[in-house]
Symmetry: C2
DNA sequence: TACTTTTGTTCCAACGTTTGAACAAATATA
DNA sequence: TATATTTGTTCAAACGTTGGAACAAAAGTA
């Protein structure tokens, strides 16, 4: 049997011959309600299978207890484990999480923001699409006065909380490792430099080359969307150079996979001829042949920090919002794709 | 400047010297409101940067325009592309999608259901965790009278709409292919048989063996969680048998990856010594060495059907809910892991 | 002119919950 | 006993929107 009519606080009140407000207070464990009444209310609520109407509470309290999370794509271990952690922490505090994917599209991202604001979320935790350069929609969130926390892909200009890893340092770690393995001509397949994190990786790449007295060569650096196909196509271009690189640092494991595919097609030995290092430590990176060396970004930690920062903002609504960067240390996981020794 | 105080319908009414209900009707393009009033309201709404309070509408209308989606894990191409499609279709119809992950845990799944019901979603589209056997929480959804659509992982007992592929037939396609490649001793690493879809695949496996006059051997069949490590561990067991299999049909690509890892460690040639076929056609399956043959489940089509079925239920609330299975045809993508000829 | 219909608006109650103020009864204090 | 305090509850308004009923004014019809 389907029970369409929902039990309300009023039904409980009628059964007990008390008022709805007494019931509400009993359910919320108000100190001025007697123990007996509370017990009785709980009992009747149980019997009638009472389910509180969250929407009414939200309207009354001006708080939806919903938090929006925007990610470029769910199909990534990095993002999905961040979300898992965010959900864990926020659910425990009574929040529900609405996840939306931008699919790396600025347009979809704007729609997501619209939709989340429309749903009256209490805050937004987001990682920006690679495509995004205009910050108008993000500013809209700020203007609403609800907390906005960025992670991984952020922009300093927004002057909000940010959680991410030290991208500049990541590049240094990667280049240092490749140099140790004997690489002398290191290429970089990066994300677009208009995105802060990729810009930092590129800066890090260039500075690290300098540090190790290796020449920087424009032909060895590409910017792309870091999809598997991008990695494959750019690798092909690198292979057609008169002097090929002997090491490639790729800003994403999907692109690194694509690059490996191209190398396989050209019968080039990895890591002997060309060493490869990726980024993000996707689960497959461990098991492809050869395993892909990659930067682990400590996604759970990022998720935890993002969620806690949100909760902190909610608890301290009057604290002025400024640029507040929480930067974690990257870790290089070395695998066969770059281990020559 | 942060504008905390939100503009309401009342503010617009005050500016124009009309009543809030006139404003509401104007905004909703009510036929009895004059063109001039509508234009004026729209203008003032624009000026005051009016954003409708969705929660109030939800309370009044008894409809949240939120749809919950429960998936075992987002970190899977199959599920994330289903979600993408569901979002596409439902967003267009004014719905927002709340995605939650069960992480294959029954407990987490129950929590998700609780949370979604608490948020007053208008319906739930779900794929069950492997662990799940008790249907009490799903029955709770049914009792609430809101649409419940299952996809991929479902249970006939719930008697609701279901979208998925023909698992039984998938096994037949796989076995037929392996037999064609000359396999005579085909093992199966499957999901747990208490789950309908895995049970069907197992049934299909056994029946297909029979059909091709191959003996069914209990030692060659395992049930597991289909994680990478499960694939690896079970493959090791298969390799320790006195007579090894010459083909393995694995119900998930992650497990298939693990199996390949074990085979690699034992220097066994794929597909010559042992041919491998996986399931789900994950993106990495295409590029590992060797590429993994896999069953493509047409995830977008599943997402589309699930979303449309939900909309259909919403539009026809009085139509009685019964078992309504929409079954799609599977497609085998043949790659190096099983292509001997 | 008298009556009906149409048009454009206001009125009011409702959705389910919360919360401060008010109030009566019970208990404590002098 | 009179007064102050505490306890347990009710009252009433509010959150922002919606939509049917009511109603006056304008327009149409006989």
């Amino acid at each position: 049997m389907v029970n369409k009519k929902k039990t309300t606080i009023k039904d409980i009140a009628n059964v007990l011959g008390i008022t709805p407000s007494a019931v509400s207070k009993a359910l919320n464990d108000h100190p001025r309600i007697s123990k007996q009444t509370k017990a009785a209310v709980l009992q009747v609520a149980e019997n009638l299978n009472y389910q509180p109407n969250h929407i009414a509470t939200a309207l009354r309290k001006g708080k939806s207890n919903l938090v929006g999370v925007i990610i470029p794509r769910a199909n990534s271990n990095f993002f999905s484990s961040i979300i898992e952690k965010i959900e864990d922490i926020l659910n425990e505090k009574g929040y529900n999480v609405i996840i939306t994917q931008s699919n790396e599209s600025y347009k979809k991202e704007c729609q997501s923001i619209e939709a989340l604001l429309f749903t009256q979320v209490d805050g937004i935790i987001a990682s920006m699409a690679n495509e995004t350069v205009k910050l108008d929609y993000y500013n809209k969130i700020k203007q609403k006065g609800i907390p906005l926390i960025l992670f991984d892909r952020g922009e300093n200009d927004l002057n909000v909380d940010y959680v991410g890893i030290d991208d500049y340092m990541s590049s240094h770690i990667v280049i240092e490792h490749l140099v140790e393995q004997g690489c002398k001509r290191i290429a970089h397949i990066g994300g677009f430099s208009h995105t802060r994190i990729y810009k930092n990786r590129i800066r890090g790449y260039i500075d690290a080359l300098k540090k190790h007295k290796l020449p920087f060569n424009e032909d060895l650096m590409y910017e792309c969307n870091l999809r598997k196909s991008d990695g494959r196509d750019i690798m092909k271009k690198l292979l057609s150079l008169p002097v090929k690189p002997d090491g490639v640092y790729i800003s994403g494991d999907y692109a690194a996979l694509g690059a490996l595919e191209a190398l396989k097609a050209h019968n080039i030995k990895v890591p002997e001829d060309i060493a490869i290092v990726g980024f993000s430590n996707e689960p497959f990176s461990e098991i492809v042949t050869p395993g892909i060396s990659s930067i682990e970004q400590h996604s759970e930690e990022i998720g935890r920090l993002a969620a806690e920062t949100f909760l902190n903002r909610i608890d301290n609504p009057n604290e002025p919002v400024t640029l507040n960067k929480m930067i974690l240390e990257p870790e290089l996981i070395i695998r066969a794709s770059s281990k020559r020794k």
